[in-house]
């Protein structure tokens, strides 16, 4: 783990946060804010939305610090709260998921994985943000967070079939975008 050295310090901060100590909360926030904003950014259309999600998420983290039992990493726990905060934000601001035609799912453009390995993370993030909110949510939850379609269906209040079709559609769009960029970077059209 990358937090091997300061982990003890984080545990101390958690204990002080449980006592409601504001300074400890601020230090803990600073420890995770940048990483968690990157998570929220994937669920958001822009930085402003992402910061709203981040703020709501951290408020809940500090309200519920006492509930953290120490099973698994604290970072993972905070991350799950951020994801839920993002889902909540999404449900509040984008009530309807777009209905997709599942027939499109099979037609995926071909992309060379080796050629995409050096794609910048910021660029990939930009690609996700450009997806329609419904596609973006399902792709994030399934591809990046590892939730099953069943879990996503429950969290998002949609059917499992809708979750599957939206994932498929999101992947297709992303592949198209990557292929386009590869064509640009290597000087030929995809």
């Amino acid at each position: 783990m990358m937090f091997l050295e300061p982990k003890f310090t984080i545990q101390q901060l958690i204990d002080r946060c449980k006592a409601g100590e504001r300074k400890a909360q601020e230090l803990l926030y600073k420890q995770f804010a940048a990483k968690m904003l990157a998570v929220c950014m994937r669920y958001a259309t822009d930085r402003m939305e992402a910061e709203d999600m981040l703020q709501n998420g951290f408020i809940r983290v500090f309200q519920k610090t006492a509930d953290f039992r120490g099973d698994g990493s604290f970072e993972g726990w905070v991350r799950r709260i951020m994801v839920h905060s993002s889902i909540e934000y999404y449900r509040k601001h984008h009530k309807m998921l777009q209905v997709v035609n599942t027939d499109d799912a099979g037609n995926e453009p071909s992309v060379n994985p080796l050629a995409t390995s050096n794609l910048d993370a910021q660029v990939l993030l930009g690609l996700i943000q450009q997806l329609a909110p419904g596609y973006r949510m399902v792709f994030n939850l399934y591809a990046l967070e590892g939730y099953s379609h069943k879990e996503i269906a429950e969290m998002m209040g949609i059917s499992e079939g809708a979750s599957k079709s939206q994932l498929s559609r999101a992947r297709t769009i992303l592949k198209e975008q990557i292929a386009k960029m590869e064509g640009k970077s290597y000087g030929y059209a995809g």
Binding site: L37, A121, R171
Partner: protein, 257 residues
Amino acid sequence: MDMQGNELDELFRSSLDELEIQPSAHVWTGIAAELDAGKRKRSLVSFLSIAAGIILALTIGMLFMPKQVKINNQQSSANRIVKNASQVAKTVPVVRSDEQQNKKTEKAVIAPANRLAAVKVERANNRADADRTKRLKVQKEGLAKIDNEPQGVLATRGDELASAVIPDHTGDEISAKPGIHDLSLLENKPQLAALATKLVKAPVKKHRIRSMGDVFNVVIAAVDKRKDKFIEFSNTDEDDATITGINLGIIKVKKEK
């Protein structure tokens, strides 16, 4: 070579895993403000619950306190005797002031002999507490005897008084007084000391504050020196204190026993 769905997922996952983006400063400000608002709300709730708890405790205390006092009186008889003894001691100064008042009005009655003086003092005191002595016909008779026979033997008088006092439930003052005065007078007469101690002990044991009514009566008697007190309470063990007499100057109500 085509990229499969899971390969695409892996590409995004690995690329975005290490990504960090510094949020704007206003995010923390917003978090701190929201947490402060929540804290204020919680502290108000806890303040209200503590206030409610105190009010509840006071209410319960006021409802059950009188009963507890009564139970304690009944249970700890040993403590009661000690308490009464101290109360008897306390009542002495009050009695003395009564003596002085009465002496002024009855100077002529005071006899030079110690024994006679004692009798007179007793009479005077009993007059001061005449409302009580009236209730006790036996005692009244005993006192009458003393008046008629001022030179009577102290022992006889003591016996009469003791017998008169025993059925009295009105409190320590009356019962204690004869004993106290006898004792003070008998200091000069060691041969009767044993008898006096007996006299002191007997009434103290028999007459104690048994009910809340007694407590009220004693307190009121300390303030109101009239025959019919401003307010009088029953002194039975069974019930809670009930009012047996009221004296508002013009309006007098008294329940005969």
